[in-house]
């Protein structure tokens, strides 16, 4: 018998295709799970609309549900219900450990260059706050590039949206 707990557990094992240190559950893209008999409905709310990993994520969720012996129905929710505030505390910790500065909480961040340029982002390598914005845009839609003036290491920062 499939339970919602088992589904959440299984989805928690799926690695993000582009930042594999964190899971889809840590990333906050799973909004809801509902089990009705053998049917499992999952609400999937993607990060960025231009993210090419969307289909891969959706397919892996469907595969994980099938592996539990259930029939998946994946509803893709394209509204603003995903924000970086949905990344779990565990997810933020894992991001930092692997060299990404986690996003600011939206509540504390007004989106202005002055603020992005402020020395509020700590270098994930040496912990220094003496960092600067190098480029608003990075290798994927969700990342910006910063530079640590202390250890002279460029690093990636998860955009706050």
């Amino acid at each position: 018998m499939v339970t919602t707990e088992r589904v959440w557990e299984a989805l928690g094992e799926i690695a993000d295709p582009e930042i594999p240190v964190i899971s889809l559950v840590d990333l906050g893209v799973i909004r809801d799970v509902e089990v009705v008999g053998r049917q499992v409905r999952v609400e999937f709310t993607p990060t960025f609309l231009g993210c090419p990993a969307q289909e891969v994520m959706r397919d892996r969720v469907a595969e994980a549900v099938r592996a539990l012996g259930a029939e998946p129905q994946i509803d893709v929710i394209l509204d603003d219900s995903w924000s970086t505030d949905r990344i779990t505390a565990e997810g933020r910790r894992k991001l930092e450990e692997s060299g990404f500065a986690p996003p600011h909480l939206r509540a504390s961040a007004g989106l202005m260059v002055v603020q992005l340029d402020a020395q509020a982002f700590r270098c994930p390598y040496c912990g220094s706050a003496d960092t600067t914005l190098e480029n608003l845009f990075g290798p994927t839609p969700c990342r910006s590039i910063r530079y640590c003036r202390s250890c002279r290491q460029p690093f990636e920062q998860f955009k706050t949206i």
């Binding site: 609309l49 993210c51 394209l78 509204d79 219900s81 845009f137």
Partner: protein
Amino acid sequence: MSAQEPPSPAVEAVLAFADDELVLGWRDSEWTGIAPFLEEDVAFSSIAQGEIGHARALYELAAGVLGGDADALAFDREPGEYRCAPFVELQLVGDWAATIARHWLYETADSVRVAELVDSDWPELAGLAAKMDREEAYHRLHAQMWADRLRESAERDRFDGKVAELWPYALGLLEPGQRERLAELVGREPVDAIERGAHTEGFAELHGEMTMVRRSVAGARW
């Protein structure tokens, strides 16, 4: 998909918006590999990816009403069926001042359009607009940063000249009722707009290039 069919003017507007984002994304991507420096190479590629992602979501929404899918709407129509504004069709690659002038005018106009769609009575469109608005915030920051930089540089007159040249095109992106707001935001007087409807000379070539894979390999997926 909504139970109640949205009125067709709304679908038309969504298609026009999607065409704007697709074609501008295509034009932006022409800078990939040849931008003035590496950071801008990355930035314009990422912005292009963002705009095309928005186009896809808008096409999907329209396809839910019209039938077909996003790729069919994006690539299977005849050039005359596209509703994009001439503003986004202009090929500006190679001219950084003109590219930044369009980027700044487009993002400002887009903020007016998206702010209205957030209150649309088509719930899926309102939700999508809210999501797009969050992402566009980064495009707006980038455009403003560059507009300020060029205005403070020795190339100020050149940049201002390009803004003046593109201004009638930028107005054509919006509905007549939204144009005064744009004029306020960019500090210019409204003039006669270059409207949607007719395509620019370069559009046929862009369309040919954009649809090449789709036309040459039936049913291609990518």
